[in-house]
Amino acid sequence: MSYPRPLSPHLQIYKPQLTSVLSISHRATGIALAIGTIPLVYWFWAIAHGPASYELAFEFYGSWFGLLCLAGWSFCFFFHLANGIRHLFWDAGYGFELSQVYFSGWLVVAVSIALTGISWIVGLSCKGGCIYAI
């Protein structure tokens, strides 16, 4: 009689923890931001190419799809930034206690949500521009 061999926990029954979710999110947001370098460079190119090109880019970023992408990238940016700083502290040898790992993890979540919100509040209230040419 053969018994099925014991298997290690598989994805379907794997209970996600904050630590593993943040780890994979660091990768996912990094990939999203890497793709985001293409529209970023397109924006530089459009500005350099003249007012007509810039108008097109401005329309794209101002469309609902463009704004949705920007909303996603802004959160990815702040998350990857905050969690990246957390990683640098680990690289330097700090923050390895389990309680510290969870504290810094929740801090990253809170900070990235807060900064995304703040940046959109500032961005939308500065629609006409808060940096003025003198």
């Binding site: 530089f44 190119w45 350099a48 007012p51 500032v122 961005g123 006409g128 521009g129 003025y132 040419a133």
Partner: protein, 122 residues
């Protein structure tokens, strides 16, 4: 580095890769915060005022360093993802090559564009 480690590692430059990834991260912390903080306050609907912001020497310099650091950091990061998830050595190397080529292409376009605005207006 022992030769057997070199053989096991696709790029054979793991330690260097590790350091450059972190150095570019350190550079990007202040520069990316500066860029995003400027971006949300920029006169995005006014082309002439936007050009003026790009024509300031420190803004152009900051953008150039940031865009090179971000593309370098992104290419190194994508390489790690490919190395972890792509089994076929050929597909892996092709992906790394294509990503590096795209990063260099984007970098050249960005440097030319930022410089063009700077020399045209500044």
């Amino acid at each position: 580095m022992p030769s057997n480690i070199k053989k096991a590692n696709g790029s054979a430059t793991g330690a260097h890769h590790w350091w450059v990834q972190r150095l570019s991260a350190l550079i990007l912390i202040p520069l990316s915060i500066w860029f995003v903080a400027a971006l949300v306050r920029m006169p995005l609907s006014n082309y002439d005022e936007l050009l003026y912001w790009f024509s300031r020497t420190f803004n152009a310099a900051g953008l150039l360093i940031m865009v090179i650091a971000v593309l370098y950091h992104a290419a190194l990061g994508m390489q790690v993802v490919y190395e972890d998830y792509i089994k076929s050595e050929g597909v892996k190397l092709a992906s790394i090559f294509a990503t590096n080529f795209l990063a260099i292409f984007l970098g050249v376009i960005a440097v030319l564009s930022i410089s063009k605005i700077y020399f045209l207006i500044g």
